[in-house]
């Protein structure tokens, strides 16, 4: 049995202007020790997907559908008290902005100890030594003394380490990381990513990595979901995704990325901008920006179907497979030069 199995997940928010369908029909599974990457631009629903699984959306005005089976139990229909027992213990989350997700008026020690005491029947002393142990594991120097410092006494990278320590303190089976390195410098990002990799090896946790950065996905993920305007448009194993991307949006993302390892004179840009989810376009949601648009795209929503070559590679596009193979090969010739 998969650790987490998400089936036909959907989330909509009722707003003054109408219903925003933020996530529609998302399916995926996460196995023990695996990393799932979710990639897409702002507003594509990648964060809402995870907030829904964690039950962190505001109760009022939120409608969710589908199932999120955690070890066989549906998180979405669970009693709030049961969900609280899972959240922070078996599943934990790292947020994007370490500056705002730590409480500025409490020492980090108090915040770490609180996380332990909520889920474990241990003394404060034990909880504190566990906190020190974790701070050491994430590479904070002089953890014994720094545990009594306040968040403002740490740099951005150090604060993100504290967040990771807090997320890992109860040995979670699944860690959801929502843009954990976006606010950080490249060298700090490299530190945090390599730290997460080591910790995953040591603790055997599964990770869901939400990011807008294809580079991060390529480095850490095993499987990838590409999301666009509340839908999954492509879903594949990471090598497969980068070697045989099947959706015009994925091509656009790859083409618009300036790269260190390949020379392109002009970036392929995706014209326009992501649609409003209040009034999404008819048919395929990408069709107003798609260079390969056909008549059928404007009226009929494509289904997320496996490719002929690989039943695990799903894509949501009307284009025929031959054209896709050809276009993908063309794109790769320019962007992935230098790899076999």
């Amino acid at each position: 049995m998969a650790l987490l199995e998400v089936k036909d997940l959907s989330t909509s928010f009722r707003t003054e202007d109408g219903v925003v369908r933020a996530v529609q029909g998302v399916n995926f599974t996460v196995e023990k020790g695996q990393t799932l990457g979710i990639v897409g631009e702002s507003g594509c629903g990648k964060s809402v997907t995870c907030l829904t699984i964690m039950g962190l959306n505001p109760k009022k005005n939120t409608v969710t559908g589908g199932e999120a089976l955690w070890k066989g139990n549906d998180l979405l229909s669970m009693k709030p008290s049961d969900l609280r027992a899972v959240r922070g213990d078996e599943i934990s989350m790292i947020f994007q902005d370490p500056m705002t997700s730590l409480n500025p008026v409490h020492t980090i020690g108090r915040q770490l100890v609180e996380a332990v005491l909520l889920h474990r029947d241990v003394t404060k002393r034990v909880a504190r030594s566990r906190a020190v142990e974790l701070l050491k594991a994430v590479g904070i120097p002089r953890a014994e003394t720094r545990i009594d410092d306040y968040p403002h006494q740490f740099s951005g990278g150090m604060r993100q380490r504290v967040m990771i320590a807090m997320a890992l303190i109860n040995d979670p089976d699944l860690l959801i990381a929502d843009e954990p390195t976006t606010a950080l410098d490249v060298t700090t990002q490299a530190q945090i990513l390599s730290l997460m990799k080591t910790l995953q090896e040591d603790f055997g946790s599964a990770i869901i990595m939400i990011t807008h950065d294809l580079g991060v996905v390529a480095e850490v993920a095993d499987d990838v979901l590409v999301m666009y305007a509340a839908n999954v448009v492509e879903q594949a194993e990471v090598h497969d995704l980068f070697h045989r991307p099947q959706h015009p949006y994925t091509w656009g993302l790859m083409g618009s990325l300036p790269r260190l390892e390949a020379d392109v004179d002009r970036l392929t840009q995706i014209p326009g901008q992501p649609p409003s989810l209040l009034r999404p376009p008819n048919g395929c949601r990408f069709h107003p920006r798609c260079p390969y648009v056909m008549e059928v795209c404007k009226t009929t929503v494509p289904e997320l179907l496996p490719t002929q070559r690989d039943p695990d590679h799903l894509q949501k596009c009307h284009l025929d497979e031959e054209t896709k193979e050809r276009e993908a090969a063309k794109l790769l010739a320019t962007t992935m030069a230098g790899t076999g």
Partner: protein, 360 residues
Amino acid sequence: MEAATAMPEATGEELLIVDGVKKYFPITRGIIFQKEIASVKAVDGVSFSIKPGETLGIVGESGCGKSTLARCIMKLLEATDGKITFEGRDITRLSRPAMRPIRREMTMIFQDPYASLNPRKRVGFIIGEPLEVHGLGTSSEIKRRVQELLEVVGLNPEHYNRFPHEFSGGQRQRIGVARALSVNPKLIVCDEPVSALDVSVQAQILNLLKDLQDDFGLTYIFIAHDLNVVRHISDRVMVMYLGKVAEVAPRDVLYTEPKHPYTGALLSAVPIANPDIGRQREAVVLEGDVPSPVNPPSGCRFHPRCPRFVEGHCDVEEPPLYQFGKSQAAACHYPLERWPMTAEEMRRAGSRTSAQPQPA
């Protein structure tokens, strides 16, 4: 030893020459009698020059002084020391009125397209204001020019009367570009112009900036923390660390044969959007954080984090900018012999002292 200029030789045709610019922010104590107790050395002796039509990329982590440097060049901040020469004229100590005509020649694009546009003004006013300030044309001429500019940056000229909130992030950044362009400047300083944008929109703005450069012969100083973006747009790249120039070189040289270990560490820290390359290489992961610019480390400022740190040399003697070939310069006593290198190789090679270059 004074840092050598980051340029091979001055040929007299440079658009902008920055010579030993320093910017210290005082830290004071006391309310009435303010006493300076220390200073933040945000920019500490930076020299470079830029030719017309060229794009100089400036990269570095947050707090390395790249934005402060840009503000000093634009004279939004008064430099503590050093000399800034624009078109052969020393502008370092010019008064505000004397500076005004020069502001037509150099404009700026800011990072945050949400914060840098006045939410209560219409787009037409925002773009036309520089023209009005400099007295360039009657109001109907200005209106025509603004509509022309909107078209140039890929917006609908009919949106002249809209407010900034009616535009998306990418469109707002286009408005920022149009405003910078309105007075026909020679130099545009772009301070992280795409870092707040989504990837697909980022590509649109980068392409736009390149097109405008081709069409109008613009010179850019392009500041960013994203090495991929800087590589894409720049002719030459300058790497800054803690207020100083670590390395400067033509783009292709810097990205293929970096000499400074910090440049190497930056390059190897960039995630590569290709699972075959990205996972094989061994990243040089730097330890710790950028130290405080109030009390920078002695000797080479990078030494506490450097994999090739040599005790008794790097922490004592500050490296000048050594020249490598015609156009590359790096401030390191033990520059990298080749690239790529793993951290272990860097360390081993670092103990060899024979590779020391001659000071420029």
